[in-house]
Amino acid sequence: MITIKSDRFGELHIDENEIIFFPFGIPGVPFNRFIIKDLIGPVKWLIAIDDTDVAMLIVSPFQYFPNYGFELSDEIASVLKAKSEDELEIYVSLLKYNDEGVAANLKSPFIINKIKKIGVQIILEDERYSFKEPIKK
C-alpha cells in the first residue's frame, strides 16, 4: 500500500494492484500510471499517481448514451491482453460544455482491462461520435 498526499484528494491510499498501466500513455498527459477512484454515482476519477494534480473525470458512456458501442480491434485486444470482454471496462472523459453543461468525449474512449490493469485510449473512426458530445438533461 502506497500513501500519496495530495492537495486535491487528501491522503490517497493506493494498493499497487490498483495501478493501471497505459503502455501508450494518454495523449497530452505526460504520465502512464493511473488509478480509478469513485467520486459520485457513475462518475469516477482517473488520477495520475505520479502527479495527482493530473486527473480527469470519467464515466461509463452507456449510462448516458445507451446505444454507444464500437468494435475492438484484435491489435488493441492483444495490447490489453484481454481473454474475454468481461475483463474490460469502458470509460469516457467529461468536459465542460458551453459554461453550463457537461459533455463526454465519445470519440476516444478509455478501455481498461480491470483484471490485468492495462489501459488504452483509442480513437474511433466512427463519424457518429464526437470529441464533445453533450450530456442532455
Partner: protein, 94 residues
C-alpha cells in the same frame, strides 16, 4: 524532414518492420498503406492533435468543475444512478 519521391505502388521502409506503400494518387489525395507490428498505434495526425486538446480540456474541467455542479449536471447520485437513468437518453445511432 526527409523528403522522398515515390510512384504509385512503391514503398518506403522505416526500420526493420514498418513499410509505407503509396497505393493510389488521385489529384491531391494520396492513399497510403501501412504495415507495422502489432502494438504500434497509427493515427491521422489531426485526430491525434484533437485528442490531445480534448484530454487537456478534460484535465481543466476536472479542476474547474465544482463537485456540487457536477452532481446537478449529471444528476448522479449513488442511490438512483444504476436503476433509472435520470438523463434523457441520447441516441447517437441515427
Amino acid at each position: 524532414m526527409l523528403i522522398l519521391t515515390r510512384k504509385t505502388g512503391q514503398s518506403i521502409r522505416i526500420g526493420e518492420d514498418i513499410i509505407i506503400k503509396i497505393v493510389d494518387v488521385d489529384g491531391s489525395q494520396v492513399k497510403v498503406g501501412i504495415e507495422a507490428p502489432k502494438g504500434i498505434i497509427i493515427l491521422r495526425e489531426e485526430l491525434y492533435e484533437k485528442l490531445k486538446e480534448s484530454n487537456i480540456e478534460a484535465l481543466k474541467t476536472a479542476k474547474e468543475l465544482k463537485i456540487d455542479d457536477l452532481i446537478k449536471k449529471t444528476k448522479a447520485s449513488s442511490s438512483n444512478s444504476e436503476a433509472k437513468n435520470p438523463i434523457e437518453s441520447h441516441n447517437t445511432g441515427e
